[in-house]
C-alpha cells in the first residue's frame, strides 16, 4: 500500500505515534484540515481538539491535543502537541471537576494576565469535554 503518509505525533515528554497512515485530520487553528499523501507543504498552529487517524477507510485512532503545531510536507505530517492523550483515556468526571476548579480560579484571578491564563485552561478543558461527547 503505497498511499500512506508518515504521521508523527510528539509531545514534550514522548513520541506518541509514528507510523504510516492513510489520512489524518488535524484541528488547525483556522479550521480542520485533512492530510493525505502528497499534501502541499504547510505549517499551521493547532487548536485544542481531536486528531483523527484514518486507516483502511475508517478512523482507527482519536487523540485529543491541547494545542500545538503541525508541519506537513508531501511525505510526512508532524504534530507537536502540548498535551496529547487518546480520547478514550479522558475521564469525564475529572475534567468536569477541573472545569469547576478553574471557574473558581477565574473568579480569584486578579490581573488580566492571570485571567487570560485561566481562560485558556478553561478553553482546553471545554474542548476536552466536547471531545468526550463526540465519542459517546
Amino acid at each position: 500500500m503505497a498511499d500512506t503518509i508518515e504521521f508523527e505525533l510528539v509531545s514534550p515528554e514522548r513520541l506518541l505515534l509514528s507510523r504510516p497512515v492513510e489520512m489524518v485530520v488535524v484541528p488547525g487553528s483556522e479550521g480542520d484540515f485533512g492530510v493525505l499523501p502528497d499534501h502541499a507543504p504547510l505549517i499551521s498552529t493547532v487548536r485544542p481538539g481531536i486528531i483523527e487517524v484514518y486507516e483502511g477507510g475508517k478512523v482507527t485512532e482519536r487523540i485529543f491535543v491541547a494545542g500545538g503545531f503541525a508541519e506537513v510536507n508531501p511525505e510526512r505530517c508532524t504534530v507537536l502537541a502540548e498535551v496529547a492523550m487518546p480520547v478514550g483515556e479522558i475521564d469525564r468526571a475529572q475534567v468536569e471537576q477541573e472545569l469547576r476548579d478553574l471557574g473558581d480560579d477565574l473568579a480569584a484571578a486578579k490581573t488580566d494576565e492571570a485571567r487570560e491564563d485561566v481562560q485558556a485552561k478553561i478553553h482546553v478543558a471545554e474542548s476536552k469535554l466536547q471531545a468526550v461527547a463526540t465519542v459517546h
Binding site: 514534550p12 515528554e13 513520541l15 507543504p41 504547510l42 510536507n73
Partner: protein, 299 residues
C-alpha cells in the same frame, strides 16, 4: 598509635558509611535509567521543534520586525546566565564544574564591560556562587524535578525568563548545563536561548540543508509572524526542558560514579584499618607472651 578499641569503632563507622554510599549508588543508578529514558523520549520533540523553527526563521530572515525573542534586542550589554545545577550535593564534580564555568564566563563578560546577571536553577549553584558573585544573583528556582521532572518545571523557568526579557532586564540569555554523555562523563555546555540561534547556523558545516528546496514552498496558517509568536516562547520552554533533562540525567550519572568511588575507597580504607588492627592485636599477644616467658625464665 591508636588503641585497639578506637580502631574497632573506626572500622565500624567506615563500614556503615560504605553501606550508605553503596545504597546511594543503587538509587542513583535506578534514577539514572529513568532520567536517561526521559531525556531520550523528549529528544524527538525538541528536534522537530528546532527544524520547524529553523525553516520559519529562514523564511523570515532579513524581514523587518522579527520578534525580539528571535532577533534579540539589538544590544549585547546585559547577559543573563542560567546555570542548571542540582538541589542536593554528593554528586562529585557535577555542581562545581558548572560553578567554575559560570564564574569564568562571568569574569570574562565583566572584563568586556558587560553587565552580568545570574538566575540559578537548583540550590547548589546559588550556594556555590553566592560567595564571590552573590551580588549578581537575581534569583533562584529550586525544587525542580520533584517529585519527578515534568514539562511544567521547564515552563516555570521559561516563563520567568520571558517575563524578565519582556521587562527589558537583559539582552542575551545563555543557559549552562551538564550535557549527559555517559554515566561517567558529563560535559558542561552553554546554549544561547535568546536571541534564538537557529540550528542551521550551528550545524551548517556538518549537514547540508537537504530540505532547502522544500523550505521555500511552505504555506503558513495563520501567517509566519503569528506562528512565530506562538512558537518562540514554546521553543524556549522546550530548550529549557531539554537542558533540565540532560542535567537531571547527568546529576544521577555523576552521583552514581561518585558514590561508586566512595564505596570503593571505603572498602580500601576498611582493608587498611583491619590490617593495622590485626597487626596491633598480634603485637599485643606477642608482647604478652614475651612477658610470660621472660617471667618464667627469671625464676
Amino acid at each position: 598509635m591508636a588503641t585497639l578499641k578506637s580502631l574497632r569503632t573506626r572500622i565500624n563507622s567506615v563500614k556503615s558509611t560504605r553501606k550508605i554510599t553503596s545504597a546511594m549508588k543503587m538509587v542513583a543508578a535506578a534514577k539514572l535509567r529513568r532520567a536517561q529514558e526521559q531525556a531520550q523520549a523528549a529528544r524527538p520533540y525538541a528536534e522537530r521543534m528546532e527544524r520547524m523553527l529553523g525553516s520559519l526563521s529562514a523564511s523570515l530572515a532579513g524581514s523587518e520586525g522579527a520578534p525580539p525573542l528571535l532577533a534579540g534586542t539589538g544590544r549585547d550589554a546585559v547577559h543573563l546566565l542560567v546555570p542548571v545545577s542540582s538541589d542536593r550535593g554528593l554528586c562529585g564534580g557535577f555542581n562545581s564544574s558548572i560553578a567554575r564555568f559560570v564564574r569564568a564566563k562571568a569574569r570574562r563578560l565583566i572584563a568586556d564591560g558587560k553587565t552580568v546577571r545570574i538566575l540559578c536553577v537548583g540550590r547548589k549553584a546559588r550556594d556555590m556562587l553566592r560567595r564571590d558573585l552573590g551580588n549578581l544573583i537575581i534569583g533562584t528556582i529550586d525544587e525542580i524535578g520533584r517529585p519527578s521532572l515534568g514539562f511544567h518545571h521547564a515552563e516555570k523557568v521559561a516563563h520567568r525568563i520571558t517575563q524578565m526579557f519582556g521587562a527589558g532586564e537583559f539582552d542575551v540569555c545563555t543557559v549552562v548545563y551538564n550535557r549527559f554523555k555517559s554515566a561517567i562523563s558529563q560535559v558542561v555546555t552553554e546554549q544561547q536561548l535568546i536571541p534564538f540561534a537557529p540550528p542551521a547556523a550551528r550545524a551548517e558545516a556538518g549537514a547540508p540543508d537537504t530540505d532547502g528546496r522544500a523550505l521555500a514552498a511552505y504555506e503558513y496558517e495563520p501567517d509566519e509572524a503569528e506562528i512565530l509568536a506562538d512558537l518562540l516562547p514554546r521553543n524556549l520552554s522546550v530548550q529549557v526542558f531539554r537542558a533540565l533533562l540532560e542535567s537531571n540525567a547527568s546529576e544521577h550519572g555523576a552521583r552514581m560514579s561518585a558514590m561508586d568511588n566512595a564505596t570503593r575507597n571505603a572498602g580500601d580504607m576498611i582493608n587498611k584499618l583491619t590490617l593495622s588492627y590485626n597487626r596491633q592485636r598480634q603485637a599485643m599477644i606477642t608482647k604478652e607472651l614475651i612477658e610470660i616467658i621472660s617471667g618464667a625464665e627469671a625464676l
